[in-house]
């Protein structure tokens, strides 16, 4: 079973536009991470936001986290054709014992950026 759900499932934009995707999850978390996966390749870590953080930036990426709504958003500004990929959110669920980082992924958002 998957913890997170990304919305939308697919997104098609033109170069230069911003892309926003959302992730909702079910249980309390230690942190939430966003990964990118290009066709036929492994996952690349983009950004990690901890449960006590509300917003984080990395280059053209902006991530927000609202633990009261159990949701996160990823914004890619000034998109490029190279941003074409699937984007996944992954949560590290909070447990009573020490967390060791088991991740639960959503089904992903497929982003296509056309020149």
């Amino acid at each position: 079973s998957q913890q997170g759900e990304e919305d939308p499932q697919a997104l098609s934009i033109q170069e230069g536009e911003n892309a926003t995707m959302n992730c909702s999850y079910k249980t309390s978390i230690n942190n939430l991470q966003w990964y990118r996966q290009n066709s036929g390749r492994g996952l690349v870590h983009l950004i990690l936001i901890r449960s006590n953080e509300r917003e984080k930036h990395s280059g053209r990426l902006r991530v927000t986290l609202d633990t009261s709504k159990k949701s996160s958003s990823l914004l890619i500004t000034a998109s490029r054709a190279a941003d074409t990929a699937s984007y996944f959110c992954a949560t590290d669920a909070r447990r009573t014992t020490d967390s060791w980082g088991k991740l639960q992924f959503g089904a992903g958002t497929q982003v296509v950026v056309t020149p």
């Binding site: 020490d98 992924f105 089904a107």
Partner: protein, 114 residues
Amino acid sequence: GAGVSQSPRYKVAKRGQDVALRCDPISGHVSLFWYQQALGQGPEFLTYFQNEAQLDKSGLPSDRFFAERPEGSVSTLKIQRTQQEDSAVYLCASSPRWGIDTQYFGPGTRLTVL
């Protein structure tokens, strides 16, 4: 430095065959994870190692799946008597420590069971 590597990258097996998938984590990484990714889905957790100890195997789908990491570095995921539903990409990830940390993923092994 070298990232996580996996071999083979592609594997075709006939139903009923046994397969072994290898993961070479980043040198010195304590934690190692295996995930299974079906077509069009996100990865799903299979099992976790801290050094050579397998601390969680709750995600293994059946007793046909077995993983080991005998010396705390290289890991092997073995699937016995493969079935068509085992067809997926198998991803390995490692991280430097236990606990809350970024996971570094390998390219995956795409297994197709005919």
